[in-house]
Amino acid sequence: MIQTVEMKNITKRFPGVLANDCVNLDVCAGEIHALLGENGAGKTTLMKILYGMYRATEGEIFINGARADLRSPADALAHGIGMIHQHFQLVPGFTVVENVALGLKSSRGPLTDLDVVSRRMRELAAQYGLNVEPNALVWQLAVGQQQRVEIIKALYRDASLLILDEPTAVLTPQEVTEFFDILRRLRDAGNALIFISHKLYEVMAISDRVTVLRDGRVVGQVNTRETNQQELARMMVGRDVITHWDKPTTTQGEVVLEIQNLGVPNDKGLNAVKKFSLKVRAGEILGIAGVSGNGQRELAEAIAGMRRVSSGTIRVSEKIVTNQSPAQIISSGVAFIPEERMAMGVVREFSVAENAILETHAHPPLAQRGVFNFAAINEHCTKLVREYDVRTPSLDTPVKSLSGGNIQKLILARELDRAPRVLVAAQPTRGVDIGATEYIHKKLLEQRANGTAILLISEDLEEVRALSDRIAVMYEGEIVGIVPSDTSVEELGLMMAGARRNL
């Protein structure tokens, strides 16, 4: 059983990056210890060192007071340390019990002992409320159940310190509640848990102590009971974080984006958007609120020209753009920040510079008669990266190695630099850390002040309420109401569930 784990003066250098700088962390049995920090603060690196996946450049690890040399995950497991990765390490074609038994010594020598494993697994499951059917195939399980399989795997290997890397990112709100119950039971049974997160309210809800990392360094360790979200946010970002914006009153101009009776089919050919009509004026942010899957994605893609419209019209500055190609729509002045950043927003393998000129590369001054002018491209991209605070080692860095927040800033730079008349922003801050979120909000408000008509689609109600001038609520592909931005969350929630209309 693990009583204490201490990481002392851990430093980890990657070529060109100092991921952890003299980090100290101590965890004891019977506590949930949150490791809080922005994306790229060094949380996962630190934990991979503890789990034997990385070797620390400097520093030592002590388990129950004795120095431990963890060279591989197998070493870590042998010391009682288990890790549940953000991307589950499960074999989808295997049953639950096969996944648990994989790599274990069998009680029957070379033969498997799945029945024995299955029996012990049920005991563990009953003890901690981790109910999963041992003979179910893993790919058929819901994500929340797969996560339980991961926890069972670790417990089966006698792990008494569990590292959970952003475990709630994949769960629905109901699953999170159940999951937290399981974590409490595990803690109360004397296990130690390290909970990696950048979500403040979760850290407040579940942890006993918090260690905050920023830029690879520990900036503080506090008892959860003696702190609050504001203080944690300040430690995490290094300054006060603005979560509430004062929207300056702008003079709203003429209608720029006008949608009439729009019908858009989804991938299955069913109408995901029905009889949808909306007007967005210059200098206005219109928020679209709704539970995911109620036609928001199809609406955004239809406006951007990436999905065919089956009925109705879309006008940009009175010009009909319905079913035009994305290139034509772009030249009409529409900018699009897609929901699926990595699939639609950037070409992963391309460099920062190449991604920055995806839309404008064929036009002077970037290209002349079909040949690139690299000096102009370089100048243009240097300007964009500086203006939009995209943190990248160089313009030639492949985009896939940037953090989510920086990729989003790069997309923002590319889209806003064209001074669009219409901006469709779909989930612009999903999976983005607090600092970058704040920055993106600031930029959206700047665009509003510049007279852009903005359609903001978001599942984050706080975001929608903070930024929008008006809020349209979508339910099953239709607008069930257009309400002022100070409408209460409860009221919006009822509309989003289809229980109330406000037309």
Binding site: E98, L102, G103, L104
Partner: protein, 311 residues
């Protein structure tokens, strides 16, 4: 013509030679199956078979010891498997291309060695027939199933053995895991490379035995390109069988029966151009694969992908 083929003696003959001809397919494709399930496509089977076929033939020719010949063939095959493993597991080479390389190497080397050390084809005394007591006296069935050489029995014994290893042993669990989600196996302390070395070496050894079964048990001769594409069909059979031993066996039997049929058509002097008859097994490969493509659900998802530990 049809009457000729439907005579009882001929039907028994076709079935008996069909069972016999299944031998090289079975060894090669069961071995290949292990390699593929662990995530390594081993296209060089044909080349390995050729080298091992020559090695077995040469030992049998010079020592008259078929057991030694078989052991040498298995070892030569295992060595070739080991080389394949170095290329595709350690050096992470593109598996399709390097497999073709190994095939061409085997084709050339076996021919060269044959020309240098033997010259003209000479028949040898192959693996003897083993009549299973009592069973071989059964009418019809006895002649078809229980009056074959030892390698034939061995080939069929490999099928349940392979099933058992894959489904009932910890090694089998590891092999399947490594071929589907090597990252998951790695995170549990399983060496992906080690497991793949084991399977690819087994595949080589089995290909070696498959080659020997041709040169010292079925044909008792060696010549240039003795295998004539049989190794490639074995690779196709693994897909056809959906990576399941008994289905692979069904596929092997299907092909060997068609081959037997075309041999008998030629033997009986039935008026079908021999080129057309000879084409049958290959035509069947293409048709079978078209249908097999639809049921690929059990495909090892990491097939042909070298494993690299993530960031």
């Amino acid at each position: 013509m049809l009457e000729q083929l439907l005579a009882p003696a001929v039907i028994i003959g076709i079935l008996a030679s069909g069972i016999q001809l299944a031998t090289p397919y079975l060894y090669a494709s069961i071995g290949e199956m292990f390699s593929q399930i662990s995530g390594v496509l081993n296209l060089g089977v044909e080349g390995v078979m050729l080298i091992a076929a020559f090695a077995a033939y040469y030992i049998a020719l010079t020592t008259n010891n078929v057991v030694l010949a078989l052991v040498v063939a298995a070892l030569v095959g295992a060595l070739m498997g080991l080389i394949t493993a170095v290329i595709s597991v350690t050096l992470k080479a593109e598996q399709g291309i390097s497999g073709i390389g190994i095939y061409l190497f085997g084709l050339g080397l076996s021919d060269l060695l044959f020309l240098v050390f033997v010259g003209t084809p000479k028949a040898i005394n192959g693996v003897p027939r083993l009549d299973i007591p009592a069973l071989s006296n059964l009418p019809v069935v006895g002649q078809i199933l229980f009056s074959q050489n030892i390698l034939v029995y061995g080939a069929f014994a490999c099928v349940p053995l392979a099933w058992f290893i894959l489904n009932k042993t910890t090694l089998g669990l590891k092999i399947r895991a490594v071929g589907q989600t090597p990252e998951a196996a790695d995170s549990l302390g399983i060496s992906v490379a080690r497991v793949r070395y084991i399977t690819v070496t087994i595949a080589g050894m089995m290909a070696g035995i498959a080659g020997a079964s041709l040169s010292i048990a079925l044909l008792n001769i060696f010549q240039q390109n003795l295998t004539s594409g049989l190794g490639f069909i074995a690779v196709a059979l693994v897909y056809f069988g959906g990576w399941r031993p008994f289905r692979v066996m069904l596929g092997a039997l299907l092909f060997s029966m068609v081959s037997a049929l075309q041999l008998w058509i030629q033997t009986l002097g039935i008026a079908v151009p021999s080129d057309i008859a000879g084409m049958l097994p290959y035509l069947l490969t293409i048709i079978a694969l078209i249908f097999a493509a639809r049921q690929i659900v059990t495909q090892p998802t990491a097939l042909t992908k070298p494993f690299e530990r993530g960031e």
